[in-house]
């Protein structure tokens, strides 16, 4: 499984959405499933899946799928 597939699977499970919804343009708070509560679930799931620890700024800044990838890339996750 590629890192992108792992990321998509994590979004699907955490937000309870379809895989085809997980595109770079998907933004936080633009769908009802990605609210503040789901965001916490998503952060925890991404940290576990990619074995990283995000800081406060990264958690706040992670406002889209694209930015999530950029943040994970800073933690040496290659997409």
């Amino acid at each position: 499984m590629t890192n992108n597939e792992r990321l998509v699977a994590t979004f699907v499970t955490s937000l309870n959405i379809e895989a085809n919804q997980v595109v770079d343009e998907l933004e936080y708070n633009t769908i009802s499933q990605w609210d503040s509560v789901a965001h916490m679930v998503l952060v925890a799931a991404l940290e576990k899946e990619f074995d990283v620890m995000l800081d406060m700024d990264e958690i706040i800044e992670m406002s889209s799928v694209k930015i999530a990838k950029e943040i994970l890339a800073k933690h040496d996750v290659v997409f």
Partner: protein, 174 residues
């Protein structure tokens, strides 16, 4: 500053805050979730502010994050041993963000630690599923519901159980 939790400062509401708070409060996405959904005029806001210091058992907070006003919260002791709370994050960058959870948890902690209460109540419109999910994540359970409102309540123990699940992520905000 009255207190600080999870990087959010709960400050006294000052004159300079009230116009920004009024504009956020009047925006549809916040106003339409309120018990009182009427628009607040400049004069009404000024009058509200001038009476804040006379209110007993009602606490009003301007919420600040990194030296920016981001929203408002309150706690009221309308019944013996019970508080009701409310909050909104108005700053566009932080609206609906993790900071809302930081405020919700911080406010509940403050209420249970400093007020002589056994439970905290909240009231949410039935269509506001985001607020229902938000409150349930903070330990609230539904105690009553009618066509217009869902009434929620939580004990200190229920809150602490819910907080356990939030702390791994919240710990990044300490």
């Amino acid at each position: 500053m009255i207190f600080k939790r999870y990087q959010v400062e709960f400050r006294t509401v000052e004159q300079d805050d009230i116009e920004q708070l009024r504009q956020w409060r009047n925006s549809d996405d916040i106003r339409l979730m309120m018990v009182d959904q009427s628009e607040i005029s400049v004069e009404q806001q000024k009058e509200w502010f001038e009476h804040l210091h006379t209110q007993i058992n009602r606490y009003h907070f301007a919420l600040w994050f990194r030296d920016q006003l981001i929203g408002y919260a309150n706690a009221s002791l309308d019944e013996p041993y019970s508080a009701s709370t409310g909050l909104y994050i108005g700053h566009e960058k932080y609206r609906g963000s993790m900071l809302a959870i930081c405020v919700g948890v911080g406010l509940s902690e403050w209420c249970f630690e400093l007020l002589s209460i056994s439970n905290i109540k909240a009231q949410v419109a039935p269509h506001n599923q985001a607020a229902l999910r938000f409150n349930e994540s903070l330990g609230y359970r539904v105690v009553e519901q009618n066509d217009n409102w869902v009434f929620l309540s939580k004990t200190k123990n229920e809150f602490e159980q819910a907080r356990k699940g939030l702390l791994p992520t919240l710990s990044r905000f300490v």
